[in-house]
Amino acid sequence: MSRLRRATQVLGLVLANIGFVGILKLGVPCPFFYCYGCPWAAFACPIGVLQHYSALGLFPFYALGLLGLFGVALGRFWCGWACPFGTVQDIVTWVTRRKTDAVKVKRVPWTKFVVLAGVILAAWIAVDTVFCRVCPAGSLFAAIPHRFASPDLTFGTYFYVHLGTLAAALVAFVLIGRFWCRYLCPLGAVFAAFNPVSVLKVKADMGKCVQCGKCMEVCPAAIEKPEEIEKCTDCIRCGKCIEVCESEAIKIDTSLGR
């Protein structure tokens, strides 16, 4: 399953960048966190779109409809299996060869919802995409690549702000696995709201569970009990718990009626 997940993460990154062919720059919000300021971006960042609509005082029916379809189908599966910024966090964890968080921080499920509300509200008040100016994904996928792609452009204040937020984010990723997904991601908050009702779920059969705790040791979302996995807003459906479960108590579930 790990190999398959790595393959889909690479595929997510490739698909996000097929916009180097101009005709493939589409008006479709993607189901992951990727800056449409990237020179090769093919899809729109959903958070950027929501901010634009908020700033313009319009309701983003089409974008919300697409996010609804993505969310009802797979919930936060997108975070674990396709998001390029999630992939960056996994790469940092892999490079540091860390199995558990260097700093133990309690799981706080509501912070990302506050970030989402703040991002939309800030755009509406400032009539501008305020969050884009500090977004660490924008730093990595747009500001830095554009600096190399368009060397005639001058550095501005927000370029250094971007570098600062990216540096802070990378330090956080070194200390805490999937820090962005757990605490701050506004798109993660959107899909988190769909996690309890999504068709694709990760379910623990507590009748089979032997309470060994291995699943919770490897969980990048720091979920504390196997019975919480199914409806937890933090589960990114990465499947690491399924891989380590020797009693085969945890499985992917796609049943429509339950």
């Binding site: 916009g19 101009g22 720059k25 589409l26 008006g27 479709v28 919000p29 800056c35 449409y36 300021g37 020179p39 971006a41 093919a42 899809f43 729109a44 950027g48 779109v49 634009h52 983003p60 029916f61 089409y62 974008a63 919300l64 409809g65 697409l66 996010l67 609804g68 379809l69 969310g71 009802v72 995409t129 884009c132 100016r133 924008g138 730093s139 747009a142 500001a143 554009h146 600096r147 368009s150 452009l153 001058t154 550095f155 501005g156 204040t157 927000y158 370029f159 250094y160 702000v161 971007h162 769909f194 009702v197 068709v199 429509l256 009626g257 339950r258």
Partner: protein, 48 residues
């Protein structure tokens, strides 16, 4: 007896989402595409 509301909730969310996309895609696609095609250089800290 406790009723399982999950299928109904899914169907409602799915229906609303499909209606939003079907009704508004033609109107809003172009605006969203313009966000992807035209770069806000000051947003990413260049040329400001």
């Amino acid at each position: 007896m406790k009723r399982n509301l999950l299928p109904a909730i899914r169907l409602a969310l799915l229906s609303v989402s499909v209606v939003f996309v079907a009704v508004f895609a033609a109107e809003q696609y172009g605006l969203i595409r313009s966000f992807v095609r035209f770069l806000c250089v000051t947003c990413i800290g260049l040329s400001d």
